[in-house]
């Protein structure tokens, strides 16, 4: 256990750690661009310089990210020499940077912006014209690259080599003509994790085509949530318009209620700092057309009337069967168990199956089970096969994914679902439900880790919350 001193504070480091890691573990900040806790150490940005005291009283300046700790080391993160070095490095980095923050999506959460104010803060000392490079390069169908903003930290290149293993990116050319480019075989296009390079890019070089010029980040608010895309249950941040900054112009109302972008919420127990591209597209998954009106055999009805009709059907059933949703939160499942569990023969069904072209399963995050809460549902309702007995007379279907063809023709169908689907009209009673972004709850992933999601938007009019609905279906809310 080497002991060293950083900025006068004596700390204990683990053997084999670098000064950067030891400092971070002890809450001492050293700036960095190219270093990333999950990636290898390239030591190319040179901003993490620190001073190390020499025996003769001098100071030796080196990069912290590649400096192993040693016993009795005395490190300065803010000496005059270090400050001068950092300033020179910042001048180099911003030399050919276009400083077009006004039109850059990264503005507001850009490391380069922050460090410029912290460590340089001056105008460019160069009087020569800035070097130009490709301003808009399609790295893939999802990602746009601005080479002028790129500071060549190679985080994205290392990500594709070390984390996603697609080896889809590389550096082309030399010196200040260097460009990040996708390899010609299209492996970056197929990389199921490619969008993570947007997050790890310390500047605004790599941009999401979906989010391009969509919103300034300070108008958005991150709400912690859980990705329902597969049973990994990655924790994510759903970014949506802050209520105080909502758009008022006509035709823009949908954007106030929509998810603008999805970023990973770092969680060492589940997904680390990464999520897959499907998770980035949650806005599409959760933004599908909603069912907002209750129906009785295809005719629209009042929600209360539909609930009463469903209650009557359930009350009169001889053999009621329930197909429980694996997209339901633990709270909803518990509510069903408490209110109707004794009445129904229940089994858990898969709401979603892998779609054509989708990565079914891999070694990093993606799981073959495309439902977020199968583990939570099975804990309550067992893992009986999804089989509807012939003599079932009332079938309660909760969520998507069940073909009505397997339901005996004589059985009455009570259908609870959030999305606009043809099946809705075929059910005897259809009750629309709220979606994940309209309520709080938890999911339990395949490994038994439970993660919570929070409400982003108010509940749509005319839909029911499953948690409140089940007691009503059981006994009309009368105790």
């Amino acid at each position: 256990m080497p002991r060293l001193t950083i900025d006068g504070r004596e700390i204990e480091a683990r053997k084999g750690q670098t000064v950067m890691e030891a400092a971070r573990d002890n809450g001492i900040f050293i700036p960095y661009f190219c270093w990333h806790p999950q990636l290898s150490v390239p030591g190319n940005c040179r901003i993490c310089v620190v001073g190390v005291a020499e025996k003769d009283g001098g100071e030796w300046v080196e990069i912290a990210c590649n400096m192993p700790v040693s016993e009795g080391m005395v490190v300065f993160t803010n000496s005059e020499k270090v400050k001068a070095r950092r300033k020179a490095t910042m001048q180099f980095i911003t030399l050919n940077h276009p400083v077009d923050c006004g039109i850059c999506d990264k503005a507001g959460e850009c490391t380069l912006q922050d460090y410029h104010y912290e460590y340089n803060g001056e105008r460019s000392v160069s009087i020569d014209a800035k070097q130009h490079a490709t301003k808009h390069h399609d790295l893939s169908a999802r990602i746009v690259l601005d080479n002028e903003r790129c500071i060549q930290c190679t985080r994205c290149v290392r990500f594709t080599r070390e984390i996603s293993k697609s080896c889809g990116l590389g550096m082309q050319n030399r010196a200040d003509h260097s460009l990040v480019r996708a390899v010609e075989d299209g492996s970056f296009e197929k990389d199921a994790y490619s969008d993570n390079v947007i997050d790890i890019c310390p500047v605004g070089a790599l941009l999401s085509r979906d989010f391009l010029h969509r919103a300034r980040v300070w108008y958005l608010k991150p709400t912690p949530s859980v990705c329902p895309g597969c049973s990994r249950g990655c924790t994510v941040n759903l970014w949506h318009r802050r209520p105080e900054w909502r758009l008022r112009s006509p035709g823009m109302q949908a954007q106030n209620q929509g998810i603008d972008r999805v970023t990973p919420l770092e969680n060492p127990a589940v997904n680390g700092p990464w999520i897959c591209n499907k998770g980035r597209d949650l806005a599409k998954l959760l933004g599908r057309a909603r069912a907002e009106v209750a129906m009785l055999k295809g005719r629209t009805a009042e929600l209360q009337g539909a609930v009463a009709q469903a209650r009557a059907l359930i009350a009169g059933a001889k053999k009621p069967v329930a197909a429980v949703s694996s997209w339901a939160s633990n709270e909803e499942l518990a509510a069903f168990k408490a209110a109707l569990g004794a009445r129904f023969t229940a089994f858990v069904k898969a709401d979603h199956a892998p779609e054509p072209g989708e990565v079914v399963e891999d070694d990093l995050l993606i799981r073959a089970d495309k439902n977020p809460n199968t583990a939570g549902a099975r804990a309550l309702f067992g893992d009986a096969p999804p089989d509807i007995p012939k003599d079932a007379d009332v079938v309660l279907v909760w969520g998507e994914g069940l073909d009505f063809g397997v339901i005996p023709a004589a059985a009455k169908i009570v259908y609870l679902n959030a999305w606009l689907q043809p099946e809705n009209g075929h059910a005897d009673v259809f009750i629309p439900l709220s979606v994940q972004t309209e309520r709080d709850g938890t999911y339990t992933n395949f490994a038994g880790v439970t993660s919570a999601f929070s409400k982003c938007f108010p509940k749509a009019k005319g839909v029911a919350d499953a948690e409140a609905l089940f007691p009503l279906l059981a006994h009309g809310g009368r105790e």
Partner: protein, 429 residues
């Protein structure tokens, strides 16, 4: 003559590079002698000889070997750095063309000393005849049973692979070189770890310059004590100097360390071309600081004499520059080279080289401003010791060396938009 010789000790004929003639000169007898010694004794002999690396940094070869403790059963690699890219340097080319078997024999001895089973010759892509000669010599050695099978009745065997680079300056940097052999873009690596701890394919690797390796045979043949008698106390042996520029007899010369510099230029190299006056000398590749005629007058060609004068023997790539040469344009040529060859990995060099190049281009265009000189100093300073490899430092040294001595020419160029030396270089007569 330029003192005693170790490498260029035979007459070059159209066939002198062949195995038969090398054997006739006593070739591969030192290998026999070496195989009777213990590997550690060879390392000790090389350490005792005080041989300094000839690639430019003059790092003691014995000390580099000493870091790599041969572990039985562990894989070690040896690379001969024949990526001779330093402008003005073409001495390794002479060895590869005329004494390839000397290199092969030296690599055999070195590999035996360091427990190496596979060795590489990394040769720059532009070298054609040198490539054919070294590949031919290795083929001959395979046929003669010196490579690929146990040598001369011992249980030591070695394979040598010649790897052709694609002609990038930074591949001559040891870690860039091994990254290139691994088949990747030759980005130099951060130290630690040292390459002698984790180098090629993450295994301990010794990388020596071709000339450094070529000296090994001589050291083992004559013994460390005898070798030390050549040269000076702190620079034992000889240095191959490749001289070019405005000089009457350009070429490769083997110079015993301690030989008077002025005498070397005036007598051995036949003086300046067409009797021009010497303005300055680039001592050892353009990354060393230039020295004026007056400065080299008292100096001898050895590290202990040249280093205190603020420069270095470097890689022995000497360039004689005649009076009348425009130093602003000379620096433009150098900076264009450094800009072109910067690998673009780390910030100060990637941005700094291009910046300096743009500044000097602007000065030569007649649009310089007085602050440009200070800016060049500042960029050079910001590159000093801040980069992953030594290229940033080297460009800084070269720039500062020229600026320090010829600042007046830069000021004149900036003020008038014209060179101080316009049209006066007439040594082509």
């Amino acid at each position: 003559m330029t003192g005693r010789r170790v490498i260029m000790d035979f007459e070059v004929t159209p066939t002198s590079h062949t195995l038969a003639e090398y054997r006739a000169r006593g070739g591969y007898q030192t290998l026999e002698k070496a195989l009777k010694l213990q590997p550690a004794d060879i390392t000790k002999e090389v350490t005792d000889s005080g041989l300094l690396g000839h690639g430019g940094a003059a790092f003691p070869v014995g000390r580099k070997w000493g870091v790599m403790k041969p572990i039985p059963g562990e894989i070690h690699y040896l690379c001969a750095n024949a990526d001779e890219g330093e402008p003005g340097t073409f001495k390794d080319r002479w060895i590869l063309e005329n004494a390839p078997h000397l290199l092969v024999e030296s690599m055999l001895i070195t590999s035996y000393a360091l427990g190496v089973r596979h060795a590489f010759v990394y040769i720059r892509g532009e070298f054609d005849l040198p490539f054919r000669r070294i590949q031919g010599a290795i083929d001959e050695a395979y046929e003669a049973g010196l490579l690929g099978k146990p040598v001369l009745g011992s249980d030591f065997l070695l394979d040598i692979v010649v790897y052709r680079g694609a002609g990038s300056y930074v591949c001559g940097e040891a870690s860039g070189l091994i990254t290139s052999i691994e088949g990747r873009k030759p980005y130099p690596r951060n130290r630690p770890p040292r390459l002698t701890v984790r180098g090629l394919y993450q295994k301990p690797t010794v990388i020596n310059n071709v000339e450094s390796l070529a000296n090994i045979t001589g050291i083992i043949r004559m013994g460390a004590a005898e070798f030390r008698k050549i040269g000076t106390a702190r620079s034992p042996g000889t240095q191959l100097i490749s001289i070019s520029g405005h000089i009457a007899k350009p070429g490769v010369y083997e110079v015993e360390y301690g030989y008077p510099w002025a005498k070397f230029l005036d007598e051995d190299c036949g003086g300046m071309l067409h009797g021009a006056k010497l303005k300055c000398v680039v001592p050892g590749g353009i990354s060393t600081k230039v020295l004026t005629r007056a400065e080299i007058e008292p100096l001898t060609l050895c590290h202990e004499s040249v280093n205190p004068a603020g420069s270095g023997i470097g890689s022995g790539g000497m360039i004689a520059i005649a009076e009348g040469t425009c130093m602003v344009r000379l620096l433009q040529v150098l900076l264009r080279f450094y800009h072109h060859e910067s690998c673009g990995q780390c910030t100060p060099c990637r941005e700094g080289m291009g910046w300096m190049h743009r500044i000097i281009d602007r000065i030569v265009d007649g649009k310089g401003v007085p602050e440009d000189i200070d800016r060049l100093y500042a960029i050079s300073h910001a590159n000093d010791g801040t980069t992953i490899c030594g290229m940033g430092d080297a460009a800084g040294y070269a720039t500062v060396g020229i600026l320090n001595k010829y600042r007046d020419e830069f000021e004149h160029f900036i003020k008038t938009g014209r060179s101080k030396c316009d049209g006066r270089l007439e040594c082509l007569a």
